[in-house]
């Protein structure tokens, strides 16, 4: 071996052997029936599912035939997507109301499944939908799972059509979920193969649009009418980098990133839902791409977590923010 081969071998060995048996978390080997490919034990559930499926299809057919007798229009209304013009807040309309401004609109983070439950009962059950879709990102909002997203798509009957509008979803996420109600402007989404990138922000006293964050959304499903899901932010002058996106975390954890700016006060929060949130740190920071870190912070939330870093105080309370997805 020459020098470079020796160096690679030695470095890999040194890195690997930093980890010893004693440092591994206690764990037991898998055992028992749960891990077995017991084809037989699935027979009964599959049979039951098949029976339920057949019954559901029969019910759907019967109900639809019944409705056609009364010449009702299609259950699912036509939904048109109108991206908000650059720098202009979306205008609420009958077909696309802004949830934060509509008293009759359910809270977005809680609505998909609830709406699905109260919608037409003549739609196919979710068990008839095979879920081959691989997210590849942390699903932050509004849906907690592919099943929820599919339920909305197949059962909501067109309610809350803002799910089909990336700009509106980004704005609702910012205002309703994060609670940054001062941010009421949304820019034209930029679409690429990774999804939609939507700037949300505010207008300064001179009327100039200020982008507080560029949110990244993807369609939660392979269908063209799959709803949009917020999965992260495209960070520039304020970033969240630790822990790594998509990593598994446990309390306490250290949250950190970089910031460019002067006299900043970074507020760091952990959200598991609209109501399960906590501010875990406030850090004075500033400089040119200066590293910031919270030190170990404790949190009680479980599941998919949205980490939020925000700063402001010059023109308004929140002027920039970044989000990050991890899970416990």
């Amino acid at each position: 071996m020459n020098t470079i081969d020796d160096r690679i071998t030695a470095a890999l060995r040194a890195r690997a052997e930093l980890l010893t048996e004693a440092e591994l978390s206690p764990a037991a080997p898998p055992a028992g029936r749960w891990a077995q490919p017991s084809r037989g034990r699935w027979t009964a559930p599959l049979l039951a599912a098949a029976i339920v499926g057949v019954a559901a299809v029969a019910t759907v057919t019967a109900v639809q035939m019944s409705r056609s007798d009364h010449a009702h229009p299609a259950i699912r209304p036509t939904v048109s997507v109108h991206p908000s013009p650059s720098g202009v807040a979306p205008t609420p309309s009958a077909s696309n109301p802004a949830p934060s401004q509509s008293a009759t609109q359910p809270a977005p983070s809680q609505s998909p499944s609830q709406t699905a439950n109260t919608s037409q009962s003549a739609t196919p059950p979710p068990s008839s939908v095979t879920p081959p879709f691989v997210m590849g990102y942390e699903p932050l909002w509004p849906f907690g799972s592919y099943t929820e997203a599919e339920q909305w798509r197949t059962k909501a009957g067109g309610s809350q059509p803002w799910h089909l509008d990336a700009a509106q979803t980004a704005l609702n996420f910012t205002r309703s979920y994060l609670g940054f109600t001062e941010l009421d402007q949304v820019a034209e989404p930029r679409m690429d193969e990774q999804g939609a990138h939507v700037g949300v922000g505010y207008r300064d006293p001179n009327g100039q649009l200020r982008i507080a964050a560029v949110l990244h959304l993807i369609r939660y499903g392979d269908s063209k009418d799959s709803p949009w899901e917020v999965v992260g932010s495209d960070d520039t002058t304020l970033s969240l980098e630790k822990p790594a996106y998509g990593s598994r975390v446990s309390s306490p954890m250290t949250i950190g990133g970089h910031i460019t700016g002067v006299d900043e006060n970074i507020v760091v929060s952990v959200l598991a839902s609209q109501t399960d949130r906590s501010t875990v740190a406030q850090i004075p920071a500033g400089g040119d791409r200066s590293a910031w870190t919270t030190g170990p912070v404790s949190f009680a939330q479980r599941g998919t977590l949205t980490l939020v870093a925000s700063t402001g105080g010059h023109l308004q309370q929140v002027e920039r923010f970044a989000i990050h997805g991890v899970h416990t």
Binding site: A11, A14, L19, A27, T236, K242
Partner: protein
């Protein structure tokens, strides 16, 4: 705990396993619990270390390895060649690590993450390394995924090129090419230290 046993008896087998040459007593193949438990005892640490070299995060690596053993347990009755258990386990760890890296891909603005920003554990771990090793590991983490996998399997797992090809499901030529380019990139990062 319920133990599922299948009819039939199978002779005891042994196999030599990766780089520590630990002979593993593979229990009767109809006893997945005890056989996988034996492998768990003898190979868990090595597999977690393999995953750490790929994903740079101990906690995540432990999860990946636990999933790999669970998959092995489920697969146990179907394994045609019991001596392939370790290879199967390694493939599971590689696949699991790949999934973890895929999930992290939305660190989009930083596709080749700075060595200090991968994970807290990774950064802390590297701090305990000698400077010369830190440089190599940092260069390794900047490699494209496939090159990193090939380098780790060749230099740490000490697999032959054919074994690497089998483990990754790629051609021998692809192994050679990835090893060459990975090695070149690391050398360049180290200032052309050949």
């Amino acid at each position: 705990m319920e133990v599922v046993r299948e009819p039939g008896t199978v002779a005891m087998r042994t196999t030599m396993v990766r780089n520590k040459d630990v002979p593993v007593q593979l229990s009767p193949v109809n006893d997945a619990d005890s056989a996988v438990a034996a492998l768990f005892q003898s190979h868990r640490l090595a597999m977690v270390r393999l995953a750490v070299l790929l994903v740079d995060d101990v906690e995540t690596s432990e999860d990946v390895v636990q999933e790999a053993f669970a998959a092995l347990h489920r697969r146990w009755p179907m394994l045609a060649d019991r001596e392939a258990a370790v290879s199967y386990l390694r493939s599971c760890v590689l696949n699991g690590s790949r999934s973890v890296l895929r999930r992290r891909r939305t660190v989009r603005r930083n596709p080749h993450p700075d060595a200090d920003t991968l994970t807290v554990e990774g950064a802390d771990g590297r701090l305990m390394l000698a400077e010369e090793h830190r440089e190599v590991i940092a260069a390794l983490q900047r490699l494209p995924r496939r090159q990193r996998e090939v380098i780790v399997l060749r230099y740490w797992s000490e697999l032959s090129e054919a074994q690497v090809a089998a483990a990754l499901g790629i051609s021998l030529g692809a192994v050679k090419s990835n090893a060459f380019h990975g090695r070149q990139a690391i050398a360049a990062a180290l200032g052309g230290a050949e």
